[in-house]
Subunit: 422 residues, 2 copies
């Protein structure tokens, strides 16, 4: 692991990573600028209209009732303060009975934070900080474990479908001695495409949001668009609080509605969290692609340093035999999509694709496994045996590593491989 | 990778993972219940007081000005609606000018969602859904890349400190032929402790929160506790919106304050996000420990199934030579802490600890590398060569894998290793 002192190119991957980080920061800034301009254009007229309307309503009231502006402003300030304690003209559910407090802590640990209920006492505020610190961390872990479970499940299902498809194709085609072997091989190297996973999660999210919206439409008398907007705001944990479900004092079938509300929000948050993470893989691929384009615009790199960097950190534009729209990187983190080409048309021999890929100096673990066709089961056995025997064996991954969870899986990678990277 | 059909115990790791997931869900539920009870006890009296106060204020006003309750309620409802459009008695900054909209989109993509500004038009609401989908995913990627950068940096600094300490100890002690070798070895296997990383991130978060609170105290006239509370709520992306910075129409040094506000929130969110993720590692370790205790309470497991499970998924109670409070797992995701024992007192020979660890059937990658002392640089070269030559080599990790980011690093693990796990 003492790669740090290994050579001049050992520091380059960090630069690559930093470049990606800075590029992303720049792009997000642009995205924010554009968003601000668009929202400003969309909402500014409505704001001015609302202000005019309110001024008129205020003028009407003071004119009609001969109340001084000053007194009225005083009352409205008092009302604002009462609002902060969760009081409205139309009675809402109590804020701090057990069920209200439960809803509140749910919005805290999930970081939704609608703000329909907020602690008013100093003790409550201080307790919130410590409560939230543990609660939010536990919920992040929960979301990451959920992500792990859902990806495992999806991969299992998709693998099963892929297996069935292959078997059918095997029945339809020639059943020589070579056929079953290559079929098994392509299954071994097979992984689900990140695009399919995104599609499935997207569909699931839309289904949950639509079902929840139907419920909210009926129970809260919101329009369907408002309900969908609420669902997105709640599920993405933004939680503005302009619309909050289950706030009235009484509903029909109140307990069932409250339970349904909680379950929908829980499912929605988990699904959208997974979806965000899958989308962020694709964003990262795009960043890698942009970086590769920037480092090597059009023609083959003339700068030796750049070439070295490309070789070293494996962000490479797609070779010519890569299907359009999909790009190959030797970066293992994005390799998944490439490998899924087996599924996406390259045929059962797609798993043999390593021979075609050796344009980069390094190959990814995925490629390596796919090309070598070593069953992990066998490998683990071997690994276990060699570990008992002696040193100087090559390093290997086994599925204990799959226990890594979420955002900190990378941290473990980092903590483990930092000395390699820098 | 065709481990799925390999034997009866191939399904057990899933059960282990599921058990961890269910245990966490149960614990979070208990945590929510306790939190709800405590908050309810803390805040209920204040709510009742606020309600009595408001009723009295309302009675005073109607009594004094001879305004009917009905008319007043109508006005207050109108005021609530105006509130939704961002209108207050005391003039606030315009909601939807460019800077206001920029603040708004910042709270969207970071999922803080204060709710001080919310889209009122249907077009704005629909646009928000699509805008937030990309924006939140990009920001999750940003946070994960930040996490990766910060962990890399911390590990680098801590490694440097550790190196210096070792070198000093080397100068002070005997400088035989064995000494420098074992020193280098312990550096090779060395990784920073997750507890130290948590401590550093915690201190950084507290420093940022305190500096920001001092700023808010001065500029917003909040109390220091309120400012700290606001910092936590904003940095953790809960974003209630009961307190929101930079909302008045005018401040002294307004532009500088707005910039400072944005920077503090950005730094705070990144730090707290990293802190949450580090804490969640520790929570996961605790879960593993609880699961191990549940599977093997006190005495050595009598049930053969349990024993098999323990062997297979490597959640094991600490062996007797493990320092108190720290537990060894062969699960690589938590191995980091164990390996850091090199740093935490086990001495330079800690990296040789594999011999002591072989109580489980499987060993982790970390153990394996640490014991085998193969420089990753060499390994990669080897890997590269063998890839060009032929099949049936063992599978290996190289540092392209370190490009995996955040929550989806695990997804790549999942997508890659699912067929092993199930």
């Amino acid at each position: 692991m003492a790669r740090r002192r290994g050579g001049c190119c050992s520091r380059l991957p960090l630069n690559e990573d930093n470049a990606r980080f800075c590029l992303l920061a720049g792009l997000i800034l642009c995205y924010l600028m554009c968003g601000a301009a668009i929202f400003s254009a969309l909402e500014r007229p409505s704001e001015l209209l609302a202000r005019r309307l309110w001024d008129q309503q205020l003028a009407n009231f003071t004119g009609h009732h001969r109340v001084s502006r000053k007194d009225l402003h005083m009352l409205l300030r008092q009302y604002e303060e009462a609002n902060g304690a969760g009081i409205r003209v139309d009675a809402l559910r109590p804020r701090w009975d057990f069920s209200g407090a439960f809803y509140f802590v749910g919005t805290v640990v999930s970081t939704i934070g609608f703000g329909m209920t907020t602690p008013a006492t100093i003790a409550g505020k201080i307790f919130l900080i410590f409560y939230g610190l543990i609660g939010c961390a536990a919920t992040i872990l929960f979301f990451n474990l959920f992500l792990e479970r859902i990806i495992t499940m999806l991969a299992y299902i998709m693998r099963w479908c892929h297996e069935r498809r292959l078997r059918r194709a095997g029945v339809g085609g020639s059943s020589g001695g070579e056929e079953p072997h290559s079929e098994e091989d392509s299954l071994e190297g097979w992984k689900p495409s990140v695009y399919y996973v995104m599609l499935i999660l997207g569909v699931a999210s839309v289904l949950i949001a639509c079902s929840a919206s139907t419920l909210y439409c009926t129970m809260e008398d919101w329009s369907y668009v408002d309900s969908l907007y609420f669902c997105f705001v709640a599920f993405s944990t933004i939680g503005f609080g302009d619309l909050v479900s289950s706030q009235r004092q009484r509903y029909e079938a109140q307990d069932a509605y409250r339970l349904g509300n909680c379950l929908f929000i829980l499912m929605g948050v988990c699904c959208i969290y997974s979806l965000f993470n899958v989308i962020s893989i694709i964003i990262k691929q795009t960043l890698n692609w942009i970086l590769a384009k920037l480092a090597c615009p059009g023609h083959c790199c003339s700068c030796p340093l750049r070439q070295q960097r490309l070789k070293r950190n494996a962000v490479q534009p797609a070779p010519s035999h890569c299907p359009a729209g999909r790009h190959r990187y030797t970066d293992a983190s994005v390799e998944t999509v490439c490998d899924s080409e087996t599924d996406a048309g390259a045929g059962p021999d797609g798993a043999y694709g390593v021979g075609r890929r050796l344009s980069g100096e390094m190959i990814s673990v995925n490629d390596f496994t796919a090309s070598n066709k070593v069953s992990l089961a066998l490998l683990q056995k071997q690994l276990c045996e060699t570990a008992h025997q002696g040193p100087r064996q090559s390093q290997a991954r086994h599925n204990g590593f799959s226990g890594g969870v979420g955002a900190f899986a990378i941290m473990n990678n980092r903590l483990q491989e930092t000395s390699v990277d820098r």
